[in-house]
Amino acid sequence: MDKEKVKQIVLDIIAEIAPDEDLTDVKPEVRLRDQLDLDSMDFLDIVMELRKQHGIEVPEAEYRQLESLDSSAEYLFPKFEAKAVA
């Protein structure tokens, strides 16, 4: 597991959540909402899929950590690492 893998996991989830979006050129440093048609309900879906598919919990106060692929990788990587160790 590395941060690039975490970004791919998030992108794979977004592909399910927003199937009409073209994800081939998503800029990792740019806010996802600024480059994709995602609303707050979609972010709830992303949180739910992280929970369902990977057992990762994102508390409501930390949702903003998922605003870009880079910030998602920074925030989620330790959680994936902790899961791997457990």
Partner: protein, 414 residues
């Protein structure tokens, strides 16, 4: 301002059914005597006879809308867009605050709730933190009508009309009433159903002894046949564009038919069992409102669902009203497509609507041995019948808790 004396006409129709996703295809299949019933996998129950729609879901809906919404919403959106196209109306070019959406439903929310509960039990150890936040917007009772307004950006009134299996007629009646009240200038009205996606619907009918069983699914829905044994559950939808005649004429619209009269009443007697006396009253009341006599009716589109008791009781009501009307033909669309629940009445009306143009009465199929208790004189079985012309269609739709609806259409004459 009200328009109590305005004539209400049908200027467009959009539908999806187990026998096609447009009026022409549905009619062609009905006249050809083809069944649309197939085998369908139902959770916990194996494969059962059912009517399944195969419309192109993404023709009018993004994949995201499809993921977030419901099957009933998707059916409604398809029908609404097709209805507007049929009426020659581009929603973006009319006043969208003056369009009302009235969708009849037998039930709504069973599919979404059942699916979520099953997932929770099957995969998540009943932990409710895995329960979707989409559950409430998917299951609110206005869902199918609301999804249509979201899809098309309509801002007039919308709601569903919960009327059990009388709902298709009830949706159309509601639309006509709102046009006459001046609450809207154009009504999208009819019904929709996604019921085949909930095993509880099938299981409920089975426990009641009212679920059709037959080795050949195309023969499972057999109203009026001596060996009928229950309902074939189907999905589907059909919405009409309704307008006041003055508006329709002003824009030069095609007019497919005119609402001549309607009625709704209640049995007030039982949760499930129908009441032929109240059905008869409902039919007579609709005729009275339409200023027609039984002999004026060319086609009675029956509600009969292929249950032993229900079919016989409807025939009893029909015999009382139409016994002396030698020129009245009787048919049944459910024998082809099964029981589309909230869409049943509206789809069955669509199945007969082209009669105004082609003069044909589609048949009732699967009557291999006519039940003497259902042997109505004008019953059309096996093959479509050619007539000298159809001027009036009377459409029956009845539902649980004793709700009866009758809608009468007449051929439009200026």
């Amino acid at each position: 301002m009200n328009y109590f004396d305005e004539r209400i006409v049908i200027t467009g129709v959009g539908l999806t059914s187990p026998l096609g996703d447009d009026l022409f295809t549905l009619r062609e299949n009905l006249l050809a005597g083809r069944s649309g019933v197939t085998r369908f996998p139902v959770r916990n129950m194996g494969e059962l006879p059912a009517g399944v729609c195969e419309f192109e879901t993404t023709r009018h809906q993004s994949r995201k809308q499809l993921r977030v919404g419901t099957r009933a919403g998707s059916i409604g959106i398809y029908c609404a867009n097709e209805a507007f196209a049929s009426a020659g109306i581009e929603p973006a070019e009319v006043d969208r605050s003056r369009i009302g959406v009235y969708v009849g439903i037998t039930e709504h929310g069973n599919v979404e709730t059942e699916t979520e509960v099953c997932q929770l039990f099957d995969h998540y150890d009943e932990d409710v933190k895995f329960w979707t936040h989409h559950h409430n917007p998917r299951t609110v009772a206005n869902n199918p009508a609301g999804e249509i307004t979201v899809n098309l950006g309509l801002t007039g009134p919308h709601y569903t009309v919960g009327a059990a299996c009388a709902a298709g007629n009830a949706g159309i009646i509601q639309g006509a009433q709102m046009l006459r009240l001046g609450e809207c200038d154009l009504a999208l009205a009819g019904g929709a159903s996604e019921s085949i996606r909930a095993y509880g619907i099938f299981a409920g009918f089975k426990s009641q002894g009212a679920l059709a069983q037959h080795e050949d699914p195309t023969k499972a829905s057999r109203p009026f046949d001596k060996n009928r044994n229950g309902i074939v559950v189907s999905e589907g939808g059909c919405l009409y564009v309704l307008e006041r005649l003055s508006d329709a004429k002003a824009r030069g619209a095609q007019i497919l038919g005119e609402i001549a009269g309607y009625s709704l009443n209640s049995d007030g007697t039982d949760y499930v069992l129908p009441n032929p006396e109240r059905q008869e009253e409902c039919i007579r009341l609709a005729l009275k409102k339409a200023k027609l006599t039984p002999a004026d009716v060319d086609i009675v589109s029956t509600h009969a669902t292929s249950t032993p008791q229900g079919d016989e009781q409807e025939c009893s009501a029909l015999r009382a009203v139409f016994g002396a009307s030698e020129g009245t033909f009787v048919n049944n669309t459910k024998s082809f497509i099964g029981h589309a629940m909230g869409a049943a009445g509206t789809l069955e009306l669509a199945g007969n609507l082209p009669s105004f143009g082609d003069g044909m009465v589609h048949a009732t199929i699967n009557v291999e041995e006519l039940d003497p208790a259902c042997a109505l004189p004008g019953l059309v079985c096996d093959e479509a019948k050619e007539t000298k012309g159809v001027e009036v269609i009377l459409n029956n739709s009845f539902g649980m808790l004793g709700i009866n609806s009758v809608l009468i259409l007449k051929k439009f004459h200026n």
